[in-house]
């Protein structure tokens, strides 16, 4: 049927396309113009060439935020994918009652990240917060979660991991469940080692889904803003500011719009590269 209808379908798709074009492409084009302009008091006052882009290279604060963003991406993507995969394997067993628990595990995904940051302030509170008390029972001293740069980084990663592990978990579980039982039955005849089955059967069959998870997680981690904003306000000092955080501060607190737009384009370039890799691999899924 789809093949027969070549005409009159436009009315269905045009409203949505028009809407998204208006509110994403137009702002992006405008923001590109801003990134090439000199901006004073929120007004474009002249052409600045590439100077806003070149400014990034000499700005140590930019490099600091970029480094923190990369650390967050690396830790969060690795940890969420690894823990998510482990949990998915456990939940893939056919046992009664697991389904209900599976639903509970997806709850963090729908919790507002900014709320989670404030929740983190309670959990990581240094004087008698629940986490530090637990660590005291385990024989550790008071951990300066929010006042020491390294610990603050870890705290943000932990909250991010708490929120996004279910994402990897639920998608990888769907991937595992789509692998048919016969393949395993055949494999078990050949080898008795669970590890060998996992390494040579499960992992290769799961790899497209694993790739999807890793790429989507990377994009989301690069976009991080809410949790550092609410948990540490980017501090102590500026130790935990992400790229988005710095763009927000420069553009909408200091109104250095040109420079902020240039950095926004830098971030856009990163996520678009990930996007291109994604499309290259998964072209056939969207025919």
């Amino acid at each position: 049927m789809r093949r027969r209808l070549r005409e009159k379908g436009n009315a269905f798709v045009i409203p949505a396309i028009f809407w998204v074009l208006t509110f994403t492409i137009f702002p992006l084009v405008y923001s590109f113009r801003v990134s090439l302009s000199k901006v004073l008091y929120g007004k474009l006052v002249g052409f600045a060439g590439a100077s806003n882009y070149l400014r990034m290279f000499g700005d140590y604060r930019f490099w600091g935020t970029l480094r923190f963003t990369l650390v967050l991406v690396l830790i969060s993507v690795c940890a969420t994918t690894a823990i998510g995969l482990g949990l998915a394997i456990v939940f893939n067993r056919k046992m009664k009652g697991l389904r209900a628990f599976r639903s509970i595990l997806t709850m963090p995904l729908f919790t507002a990240p900014v709320a989670l940051g404030y929740l983190g302030v309670m959990m990581f509170y240094e004087e008698n917060g629940p986490i530090n008390v637990l660590l005291k029972y385990l024989g550790m001293g008071k951990v300066p979660w929010l006042s020491h740069p390294l610990w603050a980084t870890l705290a943000i990663c932990l909250v991010d991991i708490w929120q996004w592990t279910p994402f990897a978990f639920i998608i990888l579980l769907a991937g595992l469940q789509s692998i048919s039982d016969e393949i395993y039955e055949a494999a078990v005849i050949d080898t008795s080692s669970g590890w060998a089955v996992f390494r040579h059967i499960t992992l290769p069959l799961l790899s497209p889904v694993l790739g999807t998870v890793i790429m989507l997680r990377m994009v989301d981690a690069f976009k991080a803003f809410d949790i550092p904003f609410s948990l540490t306000s980017g501090g102590p000092g500026t130790a935990t500011r992400t790229l988005t955080f710095y763009i927000y501060t420069q553009g909408l607190r200091n109104f250095d719009l040109g420079y902020a737009s240039a950095m926004a384009y830098f971030l856009l370039a990163i996520t678009m590269i990930i996007g291109l890799l994604f499309f290259r691999r998964y072209r056939e899924l969207y025919e």
Binding site: V20, A115, L119, V121, Y248, L257, Y286
Partner: protein, 284 residues
Amino acid sequence: MRRRRKGSVVTEILTWVVVVIAILWVLFPFYWTVITSFKKPADVFRLSSIPWLQFTPTLSNWQTEFTQRGPEILRGITNSIIIAVFASLIAVALGTLAGYGLARYKYVKWRNQSMAFWFLSQRFLPPAATVIPFFLLMKSLGLLDTRVALILVNTTFAMPFAVLIMKDMFRELPVELEEAALVDGCSRWEAFLRIALPLAAPALVATVIICFSFAWNEFLFALVLTYKKATPMTIIIAGTEHTQGVQFWYVSTRLLLAILPPTLLALTVQRYIVRGLTMGAVKG
């Protein structure tokens, strides 16, 4: 699973240990927020975790919140509901149309695949890239601090998602029913409204719920585009900590009000969650 046959009792016990740890890990922060909201300030800093045994629960935080800051919270909740409801409804309405078009028609000028790709590429667009031009746009339109501005933004974020999910859903419906309706003299539009749409209703509701949750949780644009009249719940909780220091007992009541609606709603859409999160890249 097949590997269960060997040493199945040990494996089963280990499985449940992992499950219990995972559940505790997920639920503990929620539990902590709930009990903190029922604690007297003195109990908050004297670490105690079991109500009635270690501390006496009190309703006073909730009462104070609703009497002293009632109007502000009410405004936040109202704004959040209005923004999320309108954004999700508009996104799903237009998204359903486009999804149906992509599933049932063959487009020649822009191929179906290119359009699907283009919608999906929005998933890779960082909000930071559009927040500055959006701010300038809303400023020049005089829409700063209005719910309209946030409805526009959140609809834009939710739309590609709705398009792709609904496209998949319609593609899975049998075409024959609609073809039969066409033969019986229905127009294309009637076939869509009377046959396809009712069949896709469960997916439609799930998509609305997921879009609603994302719009409810949105923070960056709310922070930039609103400051008083139109602030949603995510901004109301952000305001509290800075002005009042560490009054966890009040923070927790507001956190719960902000967290619970989308979290509980999402429990009803488990079947669609995997598609929802990957925009159809993985079928769940």
